[in-house]
Amino acid sequence: MKKPEIAIVGGGPAGLSAALSAVRQGAQVMLIDRDPVLGGQLVKQTHMFFGSKKQYAAIRGIDIPQKLLAALQEEGNGKFDPRVNTTVLGCYDDGVLLLEKEDRAELIQPRKIIIATGAAEKMLPFPGNDLPGVYGAGAVQTLMNVYGIKPGTRVLMIGAGNIGLIVSYQLLQAGVEVTAIIEGAPKIGGYLVHATKVRRAGIPILTSHTIKKAYGCDSVEGAVLCNLDEKWCAVPGTEQSLAVDVICLAVGLTPQTELLWQAGCEQQYLPELGGYVPLRSEKMQTSLSHLFVAGDAACIEEAGSAMVEGKIAGLFAAADLGYAENVEALNETFSRELEELRSGPAGAKIRQGLSRLKGGAQVC
């Protein structure tokens, strides 16, 4: 059984940053991802990032993995072992991971594990939600931006958070008509810079609206919408029908914590952070000392904070193995980056969620 010093599950922004951080400290890292290329959700994010230069602002998401991988190749010094097309099937309480690649299973026993598995899309229950043509926004983005496939011709987007707004704009760029964006809340959830962009392109954003049902014979032919009152109840008589062949759900993400549950980490249900999240210290260490967590698996945020959490998790996983050079100074820098990212009004929900997390996780 192989015993890598650190195994990182998930090669997205959090996992890649964790790998780089740990390798820089001198630790040996195995980075495991089920997809054929590393980068996680970044591989389809054709838009530029906001925020600070340290988190690659003004660079397109799709260009970030190459930068991190180039640094890993350069500084890895034989200590970086990427494993693609590899799924972690099990994470056991004795620290053993069960991997699967091309129908072959393998057990490994890393000394430290960093779970950076990201998020899963939430589903909305409505009649007809099992018709072909109902997609998650992430799936639509993958089809278009990774495989070059149009999901359909006329789209109804559900959810005016950043994902709903950005994917709507990318649908337009691909030549697909977006009939409307609807949002259950009375306010647009995403950044107004994204919202104004789609409004200028002529897409209506209907707040306090929801989908009542999808209809169609073999696939989606349309949707019935209705207004919601301030208690989120459907207002009778406000139904309207929209002819669309794609219904795209962008109704939120939830941390992908299944491996943490399997291992037996303590978790807490915090809707502000996306659902159940693992308890962890300011070192991103969970209730099990060999298990660390970073990115959307820890709480639903953005790629920028996922990368910083990855750096912190990588730093302390390595420090626990004795690679303890300069830990305090580096941690201070990383913590400050995280604090800055969460300082604005957009970070209010995250700050509130983290302040309710049991066991003293970082609170900005």
Partner: protein, 92 residues
């Protein structure tokens, strides 16, 4: 919401199926999962788990965090039996 709404796509369970099970006296998601197979299909509950929890929470007048969570077990995705036959037996 109409009761023929699908909650668990893998196991073809509707909202009516879930509500019927709750009405028969069950408010523990773990028990409802075992009775109905909700969340036991190929996607292992990644679509329906939260929908089930919310439905039970609203029927029980509790928050999702107060309910007993359903158990997660390996494997995280369906695999062929042959992949396990080749697994590493070395315990050293």
């Amino acid at each position: 919401m109409e009761e023929d709404t699908i909650i668990c796509r893998c196991e073809d369970l509707t909202l009516a199926d879930i509500r019927k099970t709750i009405k028969s006296g069950h408010q523990n998601p773990q028990v409802i999962k075992r009775l109905t197979r909700c969340g036991m299909g190929p996607c292992q509950g990644s679509t329906c788990r939260e929908l089930l929890l919310k439905e039970v929470a609203s029927a029980a007048g509790k928050s999702v965090g107060e309910l007993e969570m359903t158990t997660y077990r390996p494997p995280t995705k369906p695999i062929k039996i042959k992949s396990m036959l080749g697994a590493d037996k070395d315990d050293s």
